[in-house]
Symmetry: C2
Subunit: 380 residues, 2 copies
C-alpha cells in the first residue's frame, strides 16, 4: 500500500509505503527527479543545476497511479513521477546522529579471531568468475584486506591483481617497488628490520588507498606478514577513553618523507580521521614517517601523547593481529586507509622478495557495486 | 641569545631564542630528536616507535653549548642535542585556534581581480629551468591553478605537463580522456553544452587532486574556460552566513557516476571539507554527479538546500570568475580540491579538441618543496 500526504504549504510530502513512513522536502524531491528533463537518459547525469529550480517551489498536487507517486510542482506546473521504492531507499527522515566512530558502508571491525577465517580468494577464480570476484571484493570492502592465492611467480604479476578492480597509482617509488634487503636503502622497508604495524605513505595526500604486496621469493627465516584493523583499534581506544579518541581525531598530526633527491612529501592530517558526521574514515599510523606534531595546542599535547601511546599499544596487542606467511605467487591487498600492516624481522640464509604497488579503493567499490547491481535489481 | 629553563618535574622546557619564547614537553622533545639513534641518517626516517620511549620520561639536565641545546633524559640517561632554530620553527606553543575556514599552506583566496594577472608559465622555461618551474608550481600552490603556454600541439603532450611534477592518476576514463563533441556521450563533458563551474569526479574517493586540460584544436565559437576559487567562495558564504557554511561543512553530500558498464562510483563527502581544526581542505561541487543527499537530518534539509543554493550563486557570480581562451599548445592545471572550472557552450562551425588527465597535488607540493629547500637552507 502506498499513500501520500502533502503539507499545508506544499513544502513537504509524507510517504507511506510498504509499512514504512518518511517525509521528504519539495526541494529535495524536485532536485532528485529522474525524468528525462532532469537526468540524461544514457549516463544518468543531472542536466539541471539548483539555480534552475525556483526558490518558491511548492508541490501543488500528489497522486498515486501505476505504482508511482506523481507530484505536480509550482511554479513549473509540471508533473513528475517517482518510484516509491527508490524514495524509501533514499529516505533521510531518521533519528539523530550516532556516537562518533561508527562504521559506514558495511565495514565490520575484527581482531585476532579472524585468523581462523582469513579472507582469501583464488587468483584464477577471481580473474575468470564474476561470482568469485564479487566475493573477494566484498571481503575487502567488509574487512579492509584479503589474500589472493595461486597466482603466477613472475615479475610484475601484482599488476594482474590491480587489473581485477582498478588502476595502479604511480608514485615516486615507481609503478611498483621491490621490497627486499638493500644496502643504503632509501626506505627502511628495504631492510630486514621488523616494521611496526603501520599504514603506508601517510605523508602523501591523498594517501594511496590500496596497497598490494606480492610474494615472489620467500626462503628466509621470519618475515611473516601481519595486519591489524585500524578501525577496530580506534573504536577500542574510544571505548577505553573517549577523550583520547577525541584528541587524536580533532587534531592534525604531520608526516614527512624526504629520503630521495627531489622528493619532499609532507602532510598535515589526523591519525584518526572522521567524516563530519562522525563515521570512521581513515587511520594514519607510521612511526617512521611521523614528523614533529605542531598543530596540537600546548595544553593538549600531554593528553595527545598519552592517546598516541595508548593507540600504539592497542595496535601492538596480539589480540588485534592476524598474521600469515605468504609463499611465492601469493599476495595480499589492504585498504590502506583502514588496515595497518607489519612485517616481522628476517635475516640469515635465504631470500625474501616482494613487489608492492598502490591503487585506490574507489576501483574496488565501483567494481563491486557494478557486480552487485544486476543482482540487486533482479531482487527488487 | 639562547636560554633554557626546565620545569620542576622535568616534563617541560622553556626556550628563549632570538627574542622568541616557546615551551616544549619532554615527550615531544624525545620523540623529535634527530640523533642517529632516533633517525636513520640517510633517509631521515624514525627508527624508534613511541613504545620505545619510557612513560616516566623526564628531562634531568639542560645546557647550551656550541649553539645547540643539550638535554639529558631519564631514565635513558642519554644527552641529545637540538638545534634551537629547528625547535622554534616547530613551536606548538601558540594562541587558540582560528575561525573555521582559515587557509593553510600559504593559499591565497582570489576573485575576478586575478584576471589581470593570470598565473602563467612558459612550457619550455618551466621544463628546463628550476627557477621557472619553482615559480610556476608556487603559483599553483598559492592560487590553485595556472596556465602553461607555448607547448607542442601533439597528441599526449599533456603528459609532458604532468612530468613536470608528478604522475598521472589513471581512472576508468583512461590515462587521458578526449574532450570533444561525441554522439551518445558517456559524460556530458563530451558535448557542446556549457558546464557550470564544478570540481571533477567528486564521486571518486580519493578525488583526483589535479586536473590538466590541454588544448589541441580550438576554432569553434565559444568554449572559453573559466575558473573559480572554491576556497574564496566558501569563505564568502561563511562571511555572509556562518550557519550556511557550517551546514555544508558538517554534513556529507553524495555523488555518483554510473555512465559506463562496469562502473558505479559513489562517494559520501561534504561539499565544503574542513580539517579537524577548521582549515579549508576541499570543495566538491558538481550538479551533474550530485546524488540524492541522504545524510542530512530531516530538520536541517531546508537550511542545507538554502546554503547549497547560495553557494552555487556565489560560484556563478562573475565577480568570482577568471576566464581565458586557450589556443592549441596551451593548457591549464587546477587543484581539483579547491578550484572549480567551467566551460562556456560552443557549437557551429569549427572544432574544439582538448585532452585531459588527472594527477595529484602531493607531487606539486613535493617538487616545489624540494626546489625551495636549498634556497631555504642557504637563507638560514
Amino acid at each position: 500500500m502506498t499513500e501520500v500526504t502533502l503539507s499545508d504549504r506544499g513544502d513537504a510530502l509524507t510517504l507511506n509505503h510498504c509499512g514504512a513512513t518518511a517525509r521528504f522536502h519539495a526541494i529535495w524531491l524536485r532536485d532528485n527527479a529522474w525524468d528525462a528533463g532532469t537526468r540524461a537518459p544514457g549516463n544518468g547525469q543531472r542536466l539541471i543545476a539548483l539555480r534552475d529550480i525556483a526558490e518558491d517551489l511548492a508541490i501543488t498536487g500528489a497522486r498515486i497511479a501505476g505504482g508511482q507517486v506523481h507530484l505536480t510542482f509550482a511554479p513549473e506546473g509540471r508533473e513528475i513521477a517517482y518510484d516509491p521504492g527508490w524514495l524509501m531507499a533514499n529516505s533521510y527522515d531518521r533519528a539523530a546522529p550516532r556516537t562518533p566512530g561508527w562504521l559506514a558502508d558495511g565495514a565490520e571491525a575484527w581482531g585476532a579471531g579472524l585468523m581462523n577465517d582469513v579472507p582469501t580468494g583464488d587468483f584464477d577464480a577471481v580473474r575468470t568468475s564474476s561470482e568469485a570476484r564479487r566475493t573477494w571484493l566484498a571481503q575487502i570492502a567488509r574487512y579492509g584486506f584479503a589474500k589472493l592465492e595461486g597466482g603466477p611467480v613472475r615479475d610484475g604479476a601484482l599488476f594482474d591483481v590491480v587489473d581485477l578492480f582498478g588502476h595502479v597509482r604511480q608514485t615516486n617509488y615507481g609503478a611498483k617497488f621491490e621490497v627486499r634487503t638493500e644496502v643504503n636503502p632509501t626506505n627502511l622497508a628495504y631492510t630486514g628490520l621488523g616494521l611496526q604495524a603501520h599504514t603506508d605513505n601517510p605523508y602523501r595526500d591523498p594517501v594511496p588507498t590500496v596497497q598490494v604486496l606480492y610474494c615472489l621469493e620467500s626462503t628466509a627465516e621470519g618475515g611473516e606478514n601481519m595486519v591489524v584493523d585500524g578501525f577496530a583499534a580506534a573504536r577500542r581506544l574510544r571505548d577505553e577513553n573517549p577523550d583520547w579518541f577525541d584528541v587524536l581525531s580533532r587534531n592534525c598530526a604531520r608526516f614527512e618523507y624526504a629520503g630521495e633527491a627531489g622528493v619532499r612529501l609532507t602532510s598535515r592530517r589526523p591519525m584518526i580521521e572522521l567524516d563530519p558526521d562522525g563515521a570512521l574514515r581513515a587511520v594514519r599510523f607510521n612511526n617512521r614517517s611521523a614528523a614533529a606534531i605542531t598543530d596540537v595546542p600546548f595544553d593538549l599535547m600531554p593528553v595527545y601523547y598519552a592517546a598516541y601511546r595508548r593507540f600504539g599499544q592497542i595496535i601492538d596487542d596480539p589480540a588485534m593481529e592476524v598474521s600469515f606467511r605468504l609463499n611465492p605467487g601469493e599476495s595480499f591487498l589492504v585498504d590502506n586507509t583502514r588496515v595497518l600492516h607489519a612485517r616481522k624481522g628476517y635475516s640469515g640464509a635465504g631470500t625474501r622478495w616482494f613487489q608492492g604497488c598502490y591503487a585506490d579503493m574507489d576501483g574496488v567499490r565501483s567494481t563491486l557495486a557494478a557486480l552487485q547491481a544486476p543482482a540487486r535489481e533482479a531482487a527488487e
